[in-house]
Symmetry: C2
Subunit: 351 residues, 2 copies
């Protein structure tokens, strides 16, 4: 029995999670696998604050640790911004508790949706890269970290080990792809980046087939728009990854299209859309569930080696999109529930 912990969270999180799980369950029914998977829902984010006064309850952490895979919807919203422990702090605690050190975001510009991109087609068409962002180090967690009325301190800290494990993930992925790794740092200014660059250089000796490019973060921010097709695998530290992966997420034209995975050293992986909780459209049956559906298929592939099942769900999903069932962010008016039903019908027919 494979157990999936589901953390719907806030805003549109619950709606898109429901959509993606309904689709997954329908697909499993068709393939006769419905008894292999079990699901349980737990609190995270603002929903956790409202229910049990904690955006990351211990009970949720324990459930995640025992899971085979974790699905997260989205967290946050204006009503919890002044909470003593915000939804965002809950998310950071979850990442740290589960040691989710590697955040992986594929950026793929699909030909049929290239017109949605803010970039010109001749620049962005065919873009296909994966970003590895270190997720539990750097300025996010380093101590001291405090401020008074007069001054503020944050600490950027990395150990060799925490750099090495993410860098090696990047090299491994590059070996499976076009064998190009872009390591992004600010080695002309930061001590952390000097150590980072040194470690990439050392490890590159074990991957002689991988072509390594060293880029400063400011140059990378330019190249992502000027020549995104040239990237294959990108590896970088936490804050740079936060900024650059969000920049990259614009390339396909909508945030509603991109899933992400976070890997831990030993425990289960967590899958989630890259976008936020979009409180402005929550509860209106308007949200685009695609990034959540793709988070589910990413989980099927990465955690359960169900490549065929995942590919089938993706093909059917995009067939609906190509036939014009477009949510608002893709230029249409199809509701979450209509798109979900359409995909489920197609899955059942295609059986």
């Amino acid at each position: 029995m494979t157990h999936i912990v589901v953390l719907p969270g806030d805003g549109i999180g619950p709606e898109i999670t429901k959509s993606a799980l309904d689709i997954l369950r329908a697909a499993l029914e068709v393939t006769g696998q419905e008894d292999i998977y079990s699901f349980s829902e737990h609190w995270i984010g603002g929903a956790g604050i409202d229910a049990v006064n904690d955006p990351c309850p211990q009970e949720t952490i324990e459930a995640c640790k025992k899971a085979d895979g974790i699905l997260l919807g989205a967290i946050g919203g204006p009503q919890w911004e002044k909470a003593p422990k915000t939804p965002e702090m809950g998310l950071l605690q979850l990442r740290q508790s589960l040691e989710l050190y590697a955040n992986v975001r594929p950026t793929q510009v699909r030909d049929e949706l290239v017109h949605l991109s803010p970039l010109k087609e001749e620049i962005v068409k065919g873009t296909d890269f994966v970003m590895f962002r270190e997720l539990i180090g750097g300025l996010y967690f380093g101590k001291p970290k405090y401020y008074t009325d007069e001054e503020a301190f944050d600490t950027m800290y990395y150990s060799r080990e925490s750099i090495e494990r993410i860098v090696r993930q990047g090299f491994e992925m590059a070996m499976k792809r076009r064998k190009k790794l872009a390591s992004i740092d600010k080695a002309n200014v930061l001590a952390n980046s000097k150590l980072w660059r040194q470690i990439v250089q050392e490890n590159s000796k074990e991957y002689p087939k991988v072509d390594v490019e060293y880029l400063y973060v400011d140059a990378a921010a330019m190249k992502l728009i000027a020549n995104p097709r040239d990237f294959d695998v990108i590896v970088t530290e936490n804050l740079f990854g936060d900024i650059l992966s969000d920049e990259a997420s614009m390339l396909p034209g909508s945030l509603g299209l991109s899933p992400s995975a976070s890997y831990s050293a030993n425990g289960p992986s967590l899958y989630e859309p890259i976008h936020g909780s979009a409180p402005d459209i929550a509860g209106q049956d308007k949200a685009n569930p695609l990034s959540m559906i793709l988070s589910v298929t990413m989980m099927l592939k990465e955690s359960f080696a169900e490549d065929k099942l995942a590919q089938w769900i993706e093909e059917v999903t995009f067939s609906a999109i190509e036939d014009g069932f477009l949510p608002g962010d893709l230029g249409g008016t199809t509701s979450t529930s209509t798109l979900t039903k359409e995909i489920i019908n197609r899955l059942k027919k295609g059986a």
Copy 2:
């Protein structure tokens, strides 16, 4: 007598500096102001390392302190990357010694060059904003800052005073423009950003007419591509500004079009192109001098209140561009010297 210190620097720095100064001198001759300005050249960057073994000689700092305005070409190149004190370290020392705390970069997408942008015309046309980047604080200069083979530390530090002075510059500029200020931070994670946001909120009370938007740096990296026209004035700390201003610099389609200014509390301001030293095309009479010409006209306006003179030089320069005298980065083959001569001829004719 107005004295301008000229720091040509490395790579294409000397060529574009020469071009811009030849143009300035020709314009001053036409207007009969050639005796008002004097110039002296000093070492900076790799050129300083080669000549006097220091990328930021004390003599240069002293000369800058006495100047009325400072022009910098560009610094850096592969031959100095392993120097004990790199050109980049020299530049950082110059910024700190002269207390250049505010780096100002206008981003303007000119209608006649909008086709050069990697962004679609309907997204980028009409973009016109100014970014204020704090230049001598944060992770660049905070201590401790060191690394061993096993770990690395950098410190992000800001005092209230150093935040307040740049924030107020941003508000003042917003008052002169469309009265919109975007303050960019990462207040959901960083102590520095919490203090920053608090100070922006406090100061906003003195500028009730300015509409303030608070954006996380990751969201700002998206918005710069998704909706750049919405920005008017942006204010942010040093590293965020480094990344975001380089991202923004792509919008007009070439780095070769954008000047920048750095202001100090009491001393002279420094003007420089936003691009680097481009060692690959140095010495080949290929470099686009526009960003240096615009740095000169920015100096004329900001430091010497010579708005008319500046505007005339800009108009004549862009008339040559519109008539097809295009350097390589703008899609043509016009050499640095040909473009320079053409602009000088037009200045003389237009007298």
